[in-house]
């Protein structure tokens, strides 16, 4: 039989017809659609038992209690305990997977062993003039640094200048704010509503006080303040002296409201109004600094802090706070040294603990303090910060991996202690920065052991009470049988709060304010253009990749390399919204994208110090002390 073309056609026709009466095409169509619903390249969330664990956030000084929803041991979402969390805290469990994470110790870019790093650092340390920059003072790790430095010749214990408790430090230390008592809060640029002290506490007290925000830019805090006084950048301290004058200070004789208006641009009537409020609607408290982007210099901070004495804050809104008990063996501790006081070229070995992100200091500023050929060792999680300039980079565990204690925030009237127990195991190659210093010191022991000793020391006091995060129950410490019970409670998530706050007015003899210096600075701050960096807590350290939501996808935060300026200023320089511009200071220039904003003071360029920008570096103008503002030039690119 010969097959004709027609026969084959018939065959095919029959087959085609038949196929429609089988499940094959329909099932295949269905399965193909199901395939698109389960593509193999789609990530699959973990399966397993859901558990709840607790920790304390170490990403900023607030130390918020955190509830972690976990699958097995892996946290999959975080929440505050009895309150919210900030964006950084909410995505803290992503940090172990930060794409730019440091893996393994290295010496100038080449891998080395930890032992080699320890040996090299120890060798240099023998020569003295050793300094440690501790980004998060007040921890047990800080005690380790201070003890070691006390034994070194010329050992310097450094902390970042732009601290939230800068005002308290200026008043002599050992103090805390008590916002709950305050009815008027005068903030000199402190980001009270954005991340300062403990967010939960600030928000709880907020309805009770009138907030006066003195800040050149309309920050979030300024826009939410009851009164906003936009003083020209660099003239804030003059405004402080103006207020001091109205509150009866002798030092500030020349600073009449009219004179202040001329310098700062704040109407005299408003200055009077604020002074009246401080007098009549007390108790008042004056807070300076704390802006992550830049600190006030010493004179400025002192002028601001001094207002508290005039306003009668001491003992009411600023109270003495006891230290958390320290275990034996920490008798000799190096005192804090202000970075400003370190002579240029005065450091031979600088160890930086940047595992806990703090307020950044421009590298150029640190570099000036280094002797030629000085060694820098940075314990860091990523290369974005100082680690990129360091000789030795020591990979540090990140939040969730690190077992740390969390000191009290600056607005906690009582001493507190809590712990981040380290919910995840750190990668093998990492080292706790304090353990590194302990190894360099050759003192033996680990941070974990010292934490245990500290818990024992706390337990010995029998004071105060312990609140567990899980159910909020408070147990008097005296009722805890053993230090082990206390340690267990801390591990499971708990906070110890010292008994009773002291309302005793600390006897502070305040140093006279150098009004002349402030006047000089304020007068020289009358430049046509000012570059004002701004940042937010945690911006200096690594952040979760999810932050693209805030930078890129919603623009709720300024994205990398964006400068905000007033439309009038932009017009003057011929700059368009979204256009490229170059900002220049005496120490460098930076290309930025213009973003026009009526909320910015004319003549001011606001630049975010988000990760990856070099803004801070060009703000560090040498003869202008500090990087809070910098005289700048600008042109269209």
């Amino acid at each position: 039989m010969k097959l004709a073309r027609r026969d084959l056609l018939k065959l095919a026709g029959g087959a085609a017809l038949g196929t429609f009466f089988t499940p094959a095409p329909w099932k295949a169509l269905d399965d193909v659609s199901i395939w698109t619903q389960n593509w193999s390249w789609m990530p699959v969330p973990p399966r397993g038992e859901a558990t709840t664990r607790f920790t304390t956030c170490t990403l900023c000084p607030a130390g918020c209690p955190v509830r972690a929803r976990c699958i097995g041991k892996q946290p999959v979402s975080l929440a505050g305990v009895g309150g919210g969390l900030c964006p950084a805290g909410l995505a803290g469990h992503h940090l172990p997977h930060y794409p730019g994470r440091v893996r393994g110790a290295s010496h100038r870019g080449t891998r080395c062993t930890m032992d080699a790093a320890v040996a090299a650092v120890r060798e240099v340390a023998k020569g003295g003039r050793v300094a440690i920059l501790d980004q998060r003072p007040g921890r047990t790790a800080s005690l380790v640094y201070r003890r070691w430095l006390a034994g070194q010749e010329g050992g310097l214990y450094l902390t970042p200048p732009a601290r939230e408790d800068a005002t308290l430090v200026a008043l002599g230390g050992g103090l805390a704010f008590n916002l709950d008592e305050a009815r008027t809060v005068v903030s000199f640029g402190a980001p009270l509503m954005e991340g300062w002290g403990s967010m939960a506490r600030v928000l709880e007290s907020r309805p009770k006080f009138h907030l006066v925000q003195i800040e050149a830019r309309q920050s979030r805090t300024a826009s939410m303040a009851d009164t906003w006084l936009p003083a020209k950048p660099g003239t804030e301290a003059a405004l402080a002296l103006g207020l001091a004058h109205l509150l009866g200070s002798q030092d500030a004789g020349r600073f009449t409201p009219e004179y202040v208006e001329r310098i700062t641009g704040v109407p005299a009537a408003q200055v009077r109004q604020v002074a009246r409020r401080m007098k009549d609607a007390g108790p008042a408290v004056v807070i300076g600094g704390g802006d992550p982007a830049g600190p006030f210099n010493r004179e400025e901070e002192q002028a601001i802090a001094g207002l508290n004495l005039l306003a009668g804050a001491m003992g009411r809104t600023i109270v003495p706070r006891a230290e958390v008990p320290v275990p034996a063996g920490f008798d000799k501790l190096a005192a804090e040294t202000a970075l400003d006081d370190v002579p240029d070229g005065g450091i031979r070995l600088l160890i930086i603990d940047e595992a806990a992100s703090g307020n950044p200091v421009p590298w150029s500023y640190l570099k000036r303090k280094l002797a030629p050929g000085a060694m820098v060792a940075a314990a860091a999680c990523s290369l974005d910060g100082y680690a990129s300039h360091a000789d030795y980079v020591l990979p540090a565990p990140v939040y969730m991996e690190t077992a740390q204690d969390v000191p009290a925030a600056c607005d906690s009237p009582a001493a507190t202690f809590s712990m981040a127990p380290g919910l995840l195991a750190p990668p093998e190659e990492t080292i706790e920065p304090a353990d590194f210093v302990l190894r360099v010191a050759g003192e033996g022991g680990t941070l974990a052991e010292l934490l245990k000793a500290r818990v024992e020391a706390i337990h010995k006091t029998r004071r105060g009470s312990v609140v567990t995060y899980a159910d909020g129950t408070a147990t008097p410490l005296a009722e805890m049988a053993s230090a082990d019970d206390l340690a267990k409670a801390f591990k499971a998530g708990a906070r110890w709060t010292d008994a009773g706050t002291s309302s005793e007015a600390p006897g502070i003899a305040f140093a006279a304010v150098d009004a002349a210096a402030i006047e000089r600075r304020a007068a020289s701050a009358q430049f046509p253009l000012a570059l004002v960096p701004f940042g937010w807590r945690g911006a200096a350290g690594p952040v979760s990749p999810i932050f693209s939501k805030l930078y890129q996808e919603s623009r709720v935060r300024s994205s990398e390399g964006e400068a905000r300026l007033n439309p009038a200023t932009a017009r003057e320089y011929g700059i368009l919204d979204g256009g490229l511009m170059v900002v220049e200071t005496s120490c460098g220039s930076q290309a930025m994208t213009a973003c026009l904003d009526e909320g910015v003071m004319p003549g001011v360029i606001e630049a975010a110090i988000e990760p990856g920008t070099g803004v801070l570096e060009i703000c560090d103008v040498e003869d202008w002390c500090g990087w809070r503002t910098a005289p700048a030039r600008m042109r269209r690119a």
Binding site: S77, C86, A91, H97, G195, I546, K549, L550, S554
Partner: protein, 255 residues
Amino acid sequence: MAAKTKARYGMSIDVDRCTGCGACMVACAVENNIPPAPEGATDRKGITWIRVYKIDNGLPFPQNRSAWVPVLCQQCGEHTPCVSVCPQNAVEVDKTTGVVGQIPERCLGCRYCMAACPYQARYFNWWDPVWPAGMEKTLNPTVSPRMRGVVEKCNFCHGRLHEARAKAAAAGRREIDPADYVPACVEACPAQAITFGDLDDRNSQVARESREGSAFHLLERLHTGPKITYRSGRPWVHDALEIKVANNKKEPVRG
């Protein structure tokens, strides 16, 4: 009394409390397995089920004042613009919760619902989602990640409702404990600017707040019946959101 298994979930957002920190956006992304935007993506291609917008009073410095308005799916109740347009029933209003659900597995990605939504609260997966290596371990198992080519949006953290219901069921109850069901953004907000709950329960905080004099809906006159209510005591915020224009025949806000 019969078990209360029906609810009309809603939110009340206090614009005056919002500090614009973005915690809600991050919490939402973490909870709902929303990937970070790829390099080079713009604010118009990324996915943020809740997005915080900055508004201002339009005055020059120093009279200028800003406020922040978090905008998420408004869970429209009456003429839900997106439900009626979906050609294959991937969008619908759940009668027992009032939540507008979007099923990515049913969606064919025609984006008609996005064109229909006046609140710009719907987002399209322009790419397959990518998390940095290792980060898939941190994904939330109660929400399935979405593939490219489908639309997604806020569903009041429905995964949490699932869990709350399972918990209630394990105890033999049909009605859930309201404390067990709080969306991630509400829980995360440090300023506690967002209240969540059952609008049909007249005594709930959210229902009370929604009835306040300063309460309003976005684009009220479109008669979409949103279940998100905003509040502000600042007249300029009302002006900037054109509440007066939109509500010139001010109808009582349904709470």
